[in-house]
Symmetry: C2
Subunit: 147 residues, 2 copies
């Protein structure tokens, strides 16, 4: 069973390096300072989300960030998988899937009523979430306006 | 200019009737008690979201619910349009569009860095958000797991 622990301020450096690697893969460009500033509240107990370190505390092999929001339709606090990232060298061993099975249990105990994610159709990411029982109810796509 | 005000506990009955009508249109089934319980925290100052009443205080013509979550990619607090609903009798007059232009300004002043929404491609809802400058960066669909 892969260890998962809630990221704390002392995890910041190790977590930041992984977030930078993940965002680099996704083509998200951000300065190191902006990335650190965006991450800090999640390590300091913000009500808006959490980060989990995956693997050994001093040598994590991945991380996931969950944002907390409110869903009227699901009737309460709902999480959104923002990032879930495993180091390239240890991919395709089922670690991410294991995390996606363990996480909902922990989040349900914390009072969340639903967990969602967004993935392009017919991609490995979509298959990954579908395998973990995530389902889409329609073909709604996510649209964003930067404020 | 259409009046918009933050929904408070005294708006609960009027708001609940509109949420019920909106969810009925969307095919979301929920008991009145569950709907009231899901809405109450938003009226009581929850950090996880807000509801706005659209139109005259005592005779609102619509509402919108915004969920607040955390986005690493956008670098901070991000809103999600959960519902935006206008009474059928006053639709197609641009009221929703007017709200979607006013809201981002108010939310940006409250410190939000992005606002997102989900809509099926090539539907009036998608066109509505696109007109208000919402854009999709890829064709990611929303997938959910009930906890």
């Amino acid at each position: 069973m892969t260890n998962i622990h809630l990221a704390r301020p002392e995890d910041a450096d190790r977590l930041l390096a992984m977030v930078a690697a993940c965002h680099d893969e996704l083509g998200i460009r951000q300065s190191d300072a902006d990335r650190a500033a965006a991450l800090a509240p999640l390590l300091d107990g913000s009500p808006h989300g959490v980060a989990y370190m995956i693997g050994p505390v001093r040598a994590p092999i991945g991380y996931t960030v969950i944002s907390f929001g409110w869903s009227l339709a699901y009737g309460g606090l709902a999480g959104q998988v923002q990032d879930i990232w495993i180091r390239p060298g240890v991919r395709r061993r089922g670690i991410g899937t294991e995390v996606l099975y363990a996480l909902p249990k922990a989040l349900a105990q914390a009072g969340l009523c639903a967990l969602s994610a967004a993935a392009p159709p017919a991609t490995p990411t979509e298959i990954f979430f579908r395998r973990a029982r995530f389902a889409n109810h329609d073909d709604s796509v996510v649209m964003t306006l930067r404020l």
